[in-house]
């Protein structure tokens, strides 16, 4: 396959991942989903870097992605610790709960009433009964230690 075209395709997919991740980061309110979106932006950058590295016949791109992986791992550790702490304080993962730390001249964000979600009946998979139920011995039931 032609190398220029390969580079172009990977840059495009990288741009898509980055853009979609950015939309997720700025619009979602669940802190964990925001964090996922940030990781997705990193994925987009990684794809672009590897594509450039191959195009220029240089290992720098892949090496840089290894460091991105390292930083992403650090970020995950810190961010999840922070998310858990914030959750323990507020009882929810809502980032709007912390809007008291906004700039003084910004208006307060007010939640609107939402109609209740229509109740959906969940159909969970069930296992059909297999074989014949064995006879339970009374002894065993009595003498079994309660865990």
């Amino acid at each position: 396959m032609d190398e220029v075209q390969l580079l172009e395709r990977y840059l495009f997919i990288g741009a898509l991942l980055f853009g979609i991740g950015m939309v997720g980061f700025v619009s979602r309110r669940n802190m964990i989903v925001m964090f996922l979106a940030a990781e997705m932006m990193l994925q987009g950058v990684s794809l672009s870097l590897v594509a450039w590295g191959r195009f220029r016949n240089d290992w720098g791109g892949q090496i840089l992605v290894i460091f991105i992986l390292t930083v992403a791992a650090c970020e995950a550790a810190i961010a999840l610790a922070l998310v858990l702490m914030l959750y323990h304080r507020s009882g929810k993962l809502d980032v709007a709960f912390w809007q008291t730390v906004r700039e003084a001249n910004q208006p307060r964000y007010v939640d609107h009433e939402l109609p209740d979600e229509p109740l959906t009946v969940e159909h969970w998979p069930t296992l059909p009964p297999a074989g014949v139920e064995p006879v339970h011995s009374v002894e065993e039931t009595i003498h079994r230690s309660h865990v």
Binding site: E3, E8, G19, D58, D94, T100
Partner: protein
């Protein structure tokens, strides 16, 4: 149609599609959003992607993986339930790993699977299990400014597409003969970045030219570890040394709450 118009139309459709799919209190029109976003991405991609009939298998694999990656990426940021978000993101990671393998970056493909899907994502799900209440919460059903967010993202993607498309337009006209620009021959690439001894080359580079950076990255990992422990310990002390209990799910009662509603 000029390329600029094509990019504008594609970006506009993508913005509309993303807006329809983002949580905004209503579930109406999500399928339309999917269709619109797909058409928008398709229009943007039609500028860039010319299918090469010489390699049908490689093309099929590439497009299958690419479509999976992008579709699951959209799913990961638009799903209401955070658990579904995490699962779609796992699919994105698998797609990214496959794309990296397709580029010949074998180590990174595996590392993405192991580090991201294996470690980070599982930690996510763990935290979700600890913290997520039943059903869709209010804040999962609405977004901050979905219109603006979708427009910003689409404009960014459109501009990036333009900046990828414009420099290579001359190459496209000439039928993809471009090797003179990088001056990298296929042979050189086979001996360097596509060498069968991939790991040997990568490790050699990592521990010679980038040795200092490796040490710094190791230090960073240590600092992050200490930091994470410190954050958790600090929170424990704030709560009077009590162990984190599952009672926190109900939220509130006697905990340190920030003041909401002032200012």
């Amino acid at each position: 149609m000029t390329p600029a118009q094509t990019i504008a139309i594609g970006a506009a459709l993508l913005a509309g599609g993303l807006w329809l799919q983002l949580p905004r209190g209503a579930t109406r029109g999500r399928w339309w959003g999917m269709v619109l976003a797909a058409v928008g991405i398709g229009i943007l991609a039609s500028l860039l992607l010319t299918i090469q009939r010489a390699h049908p298998v490689a093309e099929t694999v590439f497009f299958a993986v690419a479509v999976t990656t992008v579709v699951s990426a959209v799913g990961a940021v638009t799903m209401r339930s955070p658990v579904y978000c995490a699962l779609w993101f796992a699919l994105t990671l698998v797609g990214t790993a496959a794309l990296l393998l397709f580029q010949g970056a074998q180590f990174l493909g595996m590392a993405t699977m192991v580090v991201y899907a294996g470690a980070i994502l599982v930690t996510f799900l763990f935290v979700l299990m600890l913290a997520q209440p039943e059903g869709h919460t209010y804040y999962d059903r609405v977004s901050w400014e979905p219109v603006l967010a979708a427009c910003t993202g689409a404009v960014l993607i459109g501009l990036l597409t333009a900046s990828i498309f414009l420099p290579t337009e001359g190459v496209r006209q000439s039928g993809w003969k471009f090797d003179a620009v990088t001056a990298v021959t296929t042979d050189a690439r086979q001996q360097e970045i596509l060498d069968p001894d991939h790991m040997a080359h990568l490790g050699g580079q990592l521990f010679s030219r980038y040795l200092v950076a490796v040490e710094v990255a190791g230090t960073l990992l240590l600092v992050a570890l200490v930091g994470a422990v410190a954050i958790v310990m600090h929170g424990e002390q704030k709560r009077g040394g009590r162990a984190p209990s599952s009672g926190a799910v109900a939220g509130g009662g006697g905990r340190v709450l920030p003041e909401v509603g002032h200012g």
